[in-house]
Subunit: 198 residues, 2 copies
DNA sequence: CCTACCGATCGGTAGG
DNA sequence: CCTACCGATCGGTAGG
């Protein structure tokens, strides 16, 4: 009995996070009220506040589940014995797939970080910094002539720019697939557009 | 007399737009109230509503002034008789400089588009689409093997990703300058990171 | 005695 | 150009 209740508890909590991700992705965190969220879950505000102490805690859950998934994928790839070029490509594919599979969470992570309370924001930012350092070090292995950490960091951010900016334009049902975009971004980073096009 | 009043009118209106850009960049459009804006301008809410009919009209002004500047720079470069590689580089430099010079407006343009009323949003989106088509055509000239418009569009968006994503991390007072970032992004697009590093 | 949950409403603040 | 306000809605909580 207690097991069943716990299972239902987790299931309901996951349903709230998923609805919140969709709502915050579409209207922004401040543009979507707790009442809106309750309505989308066919329940009451009080039920939402039974599962979460504050609105910001829901936002944290949306972001944290996503950034944890990114972090897990990135570390698994990073620790594999492959060449750094191959790791970078695997990471681009994994990220694009996580983006497509969790597009709402991804948009929320990229747009609503400033609406988290300081302490919670710091947790997310720490994980993001780990991801960036991972890519920066891969790029330094691939292109040692980047030399300084500042330039390697800038290169990593240009790479993340290509991948992350897709949330503003990429259509999973469009003419170019997520895997093709991942390959293009890696090809551009490794060899430039001219070679990427061939 | 009327001239002096008109001059003061424009000056005050520009001061409101600038204060609004700073406020919306920092707290988001929904996170900053008209009262906040009035306070930052050392005036009253009513004065704000003397210059603007609605809060969204201020947001439009913030975005429109910036996108008009981008559009003007891009078309001037596009119509020059230079090689497409050189035009792309000039465009990257112009954009990075406009970003540094109008960082608040840039952040607002990239983050708050969804808070504009439909018709106003369409005006901005039209100008942005023009910019994208311009870069897409430059890339097709540089790398004809991109072949389809869909792939050339994706390539243009990867390029804009590198440039636009800087709003999340670039520090004008940091170790790498805006001009260096512009060169890196173009070098990556043209020849890949390995060559860009050399 | 606890949990899960509801209808109604709290004190404050938003844009106008 | 300000003070004084409005209809509505906000995030969060009361009793049961």
């Amino acid at each position: 009995m207690a097991r069943t209740q716990a299972a239902e508890y987790d299931q309901r909590r996951r349903a709230i996070v998923e609805a919140a991700a969709a709502l915050y992705a579409q209207h922004g965190f401040l543009g979507a009220s707790v009442a809106d969220l309750a309505q989308r879950c066919n329940t009451s505000k009080s039920l939402i506040y039974h599962y979460y102490q504050a609105k910001e805690d829901i936002l944290f859950d949306v972001m944290n589940t996503h950034v944890q998934a990114l972090d897990e994928a990135a570390h698994a790839i990073s620790e594999s014995p492959e060449r750094p070029e191959k790791k970078l490509r695997a990471l681009a594919h994994a990220f694009m797939r996580l983006y497509v599979g969790a597009a709402d969470r991804h948009v929320v992570l990229l747009n609503e970080l400033d609406n988290l309370p300081k302490a919670r924001r710091a947790e997310i930012v720490k994980l993001q910094r780990d991801l960036i350092a991972l890519v920066r070090d891969m790029l330094l292995e691939i292109a040692p002539r980047l030399e300084t950490k500042a330039r390697a960091h800038a290169a990593a951010m240009l790479f993340f720019g290509m991948i992350n900016w897709t949330h503003t334009w990429f259509d999973p049902n469009g003419a170019v697939s997520a895997d093709e975009i991942a390959d293009m971004a890696v090809d551009v980073a490794l060899g430039g557009l001219v070679r990427a096009a061939g």
